[in-house]
Each structure stands twice: as C-alpha cells, then as structure tokens.
Symmetry: C2
Subunit: 353 residues, 2 copies
C-alpha cells in the first residue's frame, strides 16, 4: 500500500505502520558536531573544515527557510549533488509535518529558534575523548526532558540528525560496545580504512565496556542526546529513529538508558539498505528486534543528475531524509513518484535562487 | 460548572471554554529580563539586584524540578510568601499538562532544556531604549516561528511569562500606544508613582506611535516575543495569554502583528481582578473584545499564611499561574478546593526541603 519496505521484524513493522498511519507526526532534527570530521578525507559533508562547522546549522536553516542564513550557499557539491535535507524538507512540507531543531553541541548556532540542551561540540576521538563523562550524563538527562515534552503532543516523533563526521563516532561506539560494525558513508568510495584506523586508535584508550565510558571516549554529543529523547518519548508515543548506522549506535547505547521497543522503528532510505559496505539489517539485529522501515524512493528515475546520484551511492541518507519520507507517506498516503516530483520542484527552486 | 468567571465578552468566553474543555493543553513560560527592574523600589520580585537576575531562570527550574538549580533557594520572601510558580506547578502537574521554557533574553540561562530565541536582556527604559528596533523585529519573527510549531501539536497553548520589572515596561508600552493604563504590582503598596515617573521619562524619547518604535523605546523582549507566538499560534490553535496587565501590553502591540481573536482569551487570577489599582477589564476592552477567564482561586481559605497573602494583595499573579489554573480546571474538571489542597501539599513539600 505504501512505498515502504519492512525489514527486520516484519510483524512489528506492520504493527508500527498500523499505529501511525494517518496520524500526527513531529519531526526533530538533532544538530551536533564532532571534531573527528576534521580528520582529512573522513567525510565529504562539506568540502573544507570551515564549511564543516556550518553543515548542521545550514541543514537546519535550509529545512526551515528553504535557504541558509549562516552561509550564503545551499549545501550542495560543486557538481550538483544536494544535501539530503532537500528530501526531508520536501517530505515535511508535503505532509504539513511540524519540525523543531534541537541543538546538541553544534559548532555554529542556527539562525532560527531551537531547543537548546546546553552541550558543547564533541572533540576529535583520534586525539582525545569525544566528550567528558559528565556531558554524556547531561546529554542523556536533557534528552529525557526534551523527549517527554516532544512526545506529549504527537502520535509519532521522528528524530533525525545532522552531524558531520558522525558515522565515524557511530562506528567507534558500536565497536566499543562489542559489536562488529561496518558503516555507510556519504561517499561511494567509503574511506573505511581511515575510519577504522581512527576507531582502533581511540579504542586503545578504553578499558571498560561501560556504555557511558564508551560514549565519552568514542562518541559524539548526538548519540547520548537521541538516546535520552528516545527513552522518554517511547514511553508515550511512537518514535522513528531516522537514519542509518548512526541510529544503530544510538540504539546500542540506548539499551543502557532504556526505551520501550514496542514503540520504536528505524526509518531510512533504500540507498542505505543497498549499501554493501554497511549491512544495516544485521547491525540492527545485533542490538534489538525493532523493525526497519525503508522508504523506497525513486531518485534513480530523476531527470536531475544530482538527485540520481543518490541511487548511485552518493549521500544516500542524512538529516532524517528516510524517516521523514516514511512519515510523509504514512500521514498522507503520497507515493514515491509524487515525492520525486516534489523533490525535483524543490531542486529547481534551489538552483534558480 | 468550573471555578472560572468570565469577564469581558461573555459569549466568546463561553465559546472558548466549550472549544477547550477536556482537550489537550501545552504550557509555555517565556522568560526574559529588563534592566528596568534594577531601579530601586520598583519590584519586589527578588529582594536585591543579584537575585533579580535569577528570578526568571529560578521560576523555570522550579516549575520543572520542584527546586532551583541556578540558586540554592526556592523563590520565596523571608516571611513565607512563595513565588506564583507554585500555583503554576501544582496546576500543570494535577492535569499532566506538558510545559516548555522559552528564553526571550533572560539574564541567566536556566539549567534545563529551553527554546532559544537568540535575544538579549532588555535595557533600563529610564536610561535608554529598552531594546534595538532590529531585536524587536527578530523577537516577533522568531516568536512567529515558535508559535507555529507549538500550536501545531496542541488544542490550546497557554503562554505565561516571568520577567522581573515587566509591569513597568508593560505600562510604558500601553502609554506609548496611546492607552491610559494602570498596572498591578507584586506589592500591595504599588510603587505606581515610581513606575509612572519612569514611563514619563522614557516617553520623552519617543516621537512616534509606530508600535515597533514604542516597543523599542519602552518595552521589553517578552512583549514582542509573545505577540509573535500569538500571531501564528492563534491561526491553528486556541491561546490563553496567562497574566494580567503585561498580557494587555502584548495584546495592544499584537494589533500590529496580527492574530485571530476568535481563538484567544486572557487567563488570570481573581486577585488581579480584585486589584483596584489595575482595572484589567477596562484595559482589555480598550484593545480587543476577547474574553477574560478568571480562575477563582481560594487561597484566602488556606491554613498557610504565605498562600493567604495572595488574597491580601501580595504577588497575586505571575509565571502563568492564573492561566495554568484555568487550563487545569478545563482539562480535568478539578475545582478550586482541590487545587488549594494540592497547592498546600506543594508548599509543605518545599518548606520541608
């Protein structure tokens, strides 16, 4: 009925769709930073260190205004591959889904109202612990408070993230928690060796599998924040963790902070599932039997090469693109054909600015 | 049926109650600061200038945690008159109404998650303009964005405020907009002469009745922020402006920013209505024919002298106490007797800490 594929626990996936279809959704974008992204070659999400600082704020501003205020360009590669926030914006607008930006230590503060959690940017895990243990606890505690408020007034909370370099810290957290992870990347030539070297180096500092210690050494502020939001929000509402491997790192850590798994699903794009380097389904299964909802987008059919590139292994996911597309489909019944058309219109609007 | 009196437009008041009873409410506390409060003798909301800076943050923390984090005392006068936030907290908890703190330029940032609007504290209007014109515009714009999100997920948004010195800037704004205002005060001996002198002095700087210019010269950051929230929130939800004369200043300014008056009511306590110095009903009538819902509290019957003092002209209102009491009654059907009992229990909890 919907252009949504269910992976993982099929029964729970069907149940999740039944509980949320035609209901109210609220989208939250957790923006953050880890200086791990400054390791040369580790991410394409922003060509140079100066721009990397602006990535999360620019995504937040683009989602709201349709342009960026902190920088005077739309996040897009020189050859026209746009930020995945274009998918998120299209989906949220098509379904009139309200959104809220949550600042969990972004390097640059976005120029719009946002929920402030009093955190600071994460550090480069190659060189030092990603964040103080005290800040990990604060991120969870403030996340819990935020989650309670956000969930109180919606049927389904969708949580996306924007944090440059975040797949490397996610890899680190999963490794630190004893998993055997592989991760996806915003580049088709995944710099997996560089990511692994970074994580292996950081793992040497650790002599405990205490989850809070693992986050402190190998994580970023987004992970404990989203885990905190998840723990309280899932008590009273449904929650879609919108993303790929980074949301698996959240789930792995969230086993220690608690959540109601009957109310939780991962929501992502088909391009993450097609990524052979990152077997998302296996990873989720290592942690929990929650369902994975996959938005079967049709960007490969686009007349615009920048959008087709998503189907060829570029970008693939980010800024909650997959989860918000699923929310849009569930709320309105819109299919992927229609979403593609709207996305192309949005792309045309951007490049004519 | 409820312990709520309707003043102003009776028909609209009845209609407002019908639209909101047994529905979902969301409470927001807009915290702010005006250095006008530093004029000696102008406010009792905090005994000395150092504590005044903490008033709004302390109210926010008390509402959430039941104690304050930024200071190690509960806001209460030495002889036991508690902050009106005790009424707000009791009402919100009794009705399980979620709440969100909105920072519109508080001097001190509260230690909990809050919606950040990127404003700065207001200046002392006796000496200089209260805020730059550019910041007035930003407060309205960011308020509009916040109001859209907040209203999207509730039937009725209740907006309270905590800003020391705010009745003087409210007086200034009403005077600047051509009204003939009188204002209430947190003290039974209202320092009305001092407030009027302050306003008259500030009025000399002004040669325009442009509402944005009036706010810039005589206002504080709370007023344009709440006006912005009101303008968008009232498009899609009901709104209770929770307060006394300060909310009339908001309404007077909001005529220039626009709002749907069919969806708006003032919500306040009976102690404001009984205040002969501030004829709230007349003031509201000068601006708009929206209804005034009055929570008929029974603090005068309390066994606790600190609570009885509310009925004797002390404190009377603040931190959205009246509006949240009304929301509690409408959502749950609880009466004033029960609310008094719960407030006394809360008072006992505080003083035994």
């Amino acid at each position: 009925m919907y252009d949504i594929e269910i992976l993982g626990n099929l029964e729970k996936g069907i149940n999740f769709i039944k509980k949320t279809e035609r209901k109210e959704f609220l989208f939250s974008l957790v923006i953050s930073y880890t200086a791990t992204c400054e390791i040369p070659g580790i991410t394409v999400a922003g060509a140079n260190p100066d721009l990397l600082r602006y990535t999360a704020a620019a995504d937040a501003e683009f989602l709201h205004y349709g342009f960026c205020k902190s920088i005077n360009v739309i996040p897009m590669t020189p050859d026209g591959k746009p930020t995945p926030a274009i998918l998120t914006k299209t989906a949220l607008e098509a379904a009139s889904i309200p959104s809220l930006v949550i600042n969990a230590g972004s390097r640059i503060i976005p120029q719009l109202p946002f929920l402030e959690l009093g955190l600071i940017p994460g550090k480069n895990i190659l060189e030092e612990p990603g964040m103080d243990l005290e800040l990990v606890r604060k991120a969870v505690e403030y996340g819990r408070i935020a989650g309670r408020t956000l969930a109180s007034s919606t049927n389904c909370l969708v949580i996306g993230e924007s944090i440059p370099g975040g797949t490397t810290t996610a890899l680190g957290v999963m490794a630190g928690l004893g998993m055997s992870p592989t991760v996806s990347s915003s580049m088709p030539e995944n710099p997996i060796q560089l990511k692994n070297q970074t994580v292996q180096s950081a793992l040497k500092r650790i002599d405990s599998k205490d989850p809070f210690e693992v986050i402190s050494q190998l994580g970023d502020p987004m992970i404990p924040t989203v885990a905190g939001i998840l723990s309280t929000a899932s008590e009273s509402a449904n929650v879609i963790l919108a993303g790929g491997t980074q949301m698996v790192a959240v789930l792995a850590f969230a086993k220690s902070t608690g959540f109601n798994k009957e109310n939780v699903a991962i929501g992502t794009t088909s391009y993450i599932i097609e990524d052979k380097d990152a077997n998302l389904v296996d990873l989720v299964n290592q942690v929990s039997d929650i369902p994975i909802l996959v938005a079967k987008l049709k960007l490969g059919n686009s007349k615009i090469s920048g959008l087709r590139s998503y189907a060829n292994g570029f970008v693939k996911e980010g800024a909650g693109a997959g989860g918000s597309s699923i929310a849009c489909m569930l709320k309105t019944g819109i299919d992927s054909e229609k979403l593609l058309l709207l996305t192309e219109q949005e792309y045309d609007r951007i490049i004519s600015q």
